[in-house]
């Protein structure tokens, strides 16, 4: 997603190495995705659902 959108930066964070980040984002299970500190996705989803959930708040509605 980051590769295809100049507006997206993506971090893969190793939770056990950075417990401060894991605490801050309440990571109790993995994978957990946090988008701009607003959207949280727990677990792995199919691509279309993942992209939709991750970006719903950040896209202008387009048909």
């Amino acid at each position: 997603m980051a590769f295809l959108s100049p507006n997206i930066t993506a971090f893969a964070v190793e939770a056990t190495e950075f417990p401060d980040l894991a605490r801050r984002y309440r990571v109790n299970g993995v994978p957990k995705t946090v988008v701009d500190e607003e959207v949280e996705i727990l677990g792995a989803l199919p691509e279309s659902a993942f992209v939709e959930q991750a970006l719903a708040r950040f896209t202008i509605d387009k048909p």
């Binding site: 997603m1 590769f3 997206i8 930066t9 893969a12 984002y25 279309s48 950040f58």
Partner: protein, 146 residues
């Protein structure tokens, strides 16, 4: 003793053979208080021998703070993936925080292949959604090595 087994090295060599442009991994490190910086460096050092397209550049988080800031990196170990196309350097905006061991290693390799010219796999629908993102968004995916 290499960290990547010889059979995995062979598989990686085959995957990297499809690369069509140079990929540079920026490795952000610090001397003190970084338990996994050495391990990360060891993992990364095993990649360039598998492909002429891959290089590693070490960036000191403290001494080269401006570079770290430009890539949005404030802790170590971290990796930022860039590639070269027509003499210009491009940032993939893909970052790894922590040692790329276990599953993270597979993700790292996928990111290197993408940077190296492999076509992105996302659907047309997903690409349309991505194209509609009109302000900077940061995504963090938390994982564990196992």
């Amino acid at each position: 003793m290499p960290l990547i087994s010889s059979s995995d090295q062979e598989r990686l060599r085959e995957s990297f053979a499809e690369m069509t442009r140079p990929v540079r991994l920026l490795f952000f490190t610090q001397t003190l208080d970084c338990e996994t910086c050495l391990q990360t460096r060891q993992i990364l050092d095993e990649l360039p021998p598998l492909s002429d397209w891959i290089t590693i550049e070490e960036v000191n988080l403290i001494l080269e703070g401006d570079t770290a800031k430009a890539y949005g990196i404030d802790r170590a170990p971290a990796i930022a993936i860039t590639y070269q196309d027509n003499e210009s350097i491009f940032d993939t905006r893909i970052r790894f925080l922590g040692a790329p061991a276990g599953y993270e290693f597979i993700s790292l390799i996928q990111a290197v292949l993408l940077a190296g010219g492999r076509p992105p796999q996302l659907s047309i629908e997903s690409r349309a959604r991505l194209a509609a993102v009109d302000k900077p968004v940061t995504m963090q995916v938390f994982t564990t090595p196992t």
